[in-house]
């Protein structure tokens, strides 16, 4: 049985790279601590592959033919896509892909009734994949990735219940379809509160962000599914905050377990709240195994 040995959720706000120089010291400290800790955890977990779920941000598909989930099957993932580079303010990168695992994921999710799409060509990455890849030095770690870009913003948006069910199918796929000795990492890339393109572009809902971080770190998934509604996320920042659904996919895959937060920061120029959680993959093992059986 393959195992999930790393699981986390983290923001990908472009300002975390291109506008970092505008941030005060304490904000810089939270950002540096967060991504350094995640990078170290990825490296020390000795994972064979990192599957990253992230908001597609309308980067790859036309709005009238928009997939809910799009798997990147490339052998190498290069980014950022040309138009996003000055906006993020980042360098080019190349990360190893995992075409066989991506193909197995596509087949495994299809078999479990989850409609995903997949393409061999390099996906167009904006901040969604570029920011976590660069800030956690996934490129330097040598860990291959499978990016899965999801619809968090084009109605009808797969809601928290649907994304959790997708995550449960993902967890089942990892445990039962992948090689028995494989170690898998999962990252939900997105959030926290923000409203890109909206009339409240600079709005950061600190109350929502702190509530969300506490909730996902608590491991109470019943409450999460009751309270993390699309309406609540839209109120905390339209067209942006709902990308926390990428975290929900990861939570569905790992099941209820506690996590640790690395602190919280809000900086107006980032136009986005910043905070990440890493879940304890050694917690609740007997209970989760019993539930799986």
């Amino acid at each position: 049985m393959a195992e999930i040995r790393f699981a986390a959720g983290a923001p990908h706000a472009p300002g975390l790279i291109g506008l970092m120089q505008t941030a005060p010291g304490p904000v810089k400290d939270v950002v540096a601590h967060t991504y350094r800790s995640l990078g170290e955890a990825i490296a020390s977990s000795a994972i064979d592959v990192l599957i990253i779920f992230a908001n597609d941000h309308l980067a790859n598909s036309r709005i009238r033919a928009y997939p809910d989930f799009l798997i990147g099957m490339a052998g190498e993932h290069r980014g950022p896509y040309e138009w996003f580079k000055p906006w993020i303010g980042c360098r080019d990168y190349t990360v190893k892909g995992a075409p066989d695992i991506a193909a197995a994921l596509f087949g495994g999710m299809t078999k479990r009734g989850i409609r995903m799409f997949a393409q061999h060509e390099n996906l167009k990455f904006d901040d969604n994949i570029s920011v976590p890849v660069l800030l956690t030095d996934i490129e330097g770690s040598g860990v291959p990735i499978v990016p899965v870009l999801q619809n968090c913003t084009v109605p009808p948006i797969p809601d928290q219940h649907r994304c959790y069910a997708v995550g449960q199918a993902l967890g089942d796929f990892i445990r039962n379809d992948l090689p028995a000795d494989m170690r898998v990492g999962l990252l939900g890339s997105g959030g926290l509160s923000h409203e890109p393109g909206g009339s409240r572009y600079y709005f950061i809902d600190e109350d929502f962000d702190r509530w969300f971080l506490d909730l996902v770190a608590s491991g109470d998934h019943d409450r999460l599914l009751r309270e993390l509604t699309l309406e609540r996320m839209e109120a905390a920042g339209s067209s942006g905050t709902a990308e926390l659904l990428a975290w929900v996919v990861v939570l569905g895959a790992i099941g209820p377990r506690p996590g640790k937060s690395f602190g919280y920061a809000a900086h107006r120029e980032f136009k986005c709240g910043v905070g990440a959680v890493q879940w304890d993959m050694d917690a609740n093992q007997p209970k989760l195994r019993a539930a799986a059986e």
């Binding site: 506008l19 036309r62 138009w83």
Partner: protein
Amino acid sequence: MGLERFDPSLATHDLIQDLKWSPALREEFVLNEAGVLDRYPLRQDERYAIETRDFRTLYDIGLHPYLGGQLARLIFGNEAGKGATVAVNKLVESLQGKGPVT
């Protein structure tokens, strides 16, 4: 102002995607905006709103806000801390009541 007025049929969505995906089209848009707009089946009010940089009207008739933010960057600048900041401020100014921000 969120997704409640979103109308995926607006051709402006395709224009923005094509501009993001094609450096050549972006260059042409700068030199001959009308010529580029002529190729898209834009409604009269939709085209006029683009020409006058009236994001408020575009959102009212159904432009997706995420792509609206990108249209602002395509027009006013896309570099972190520079043109992109101008674009955000122009967009917010339009959406918060000013309408055209040419």
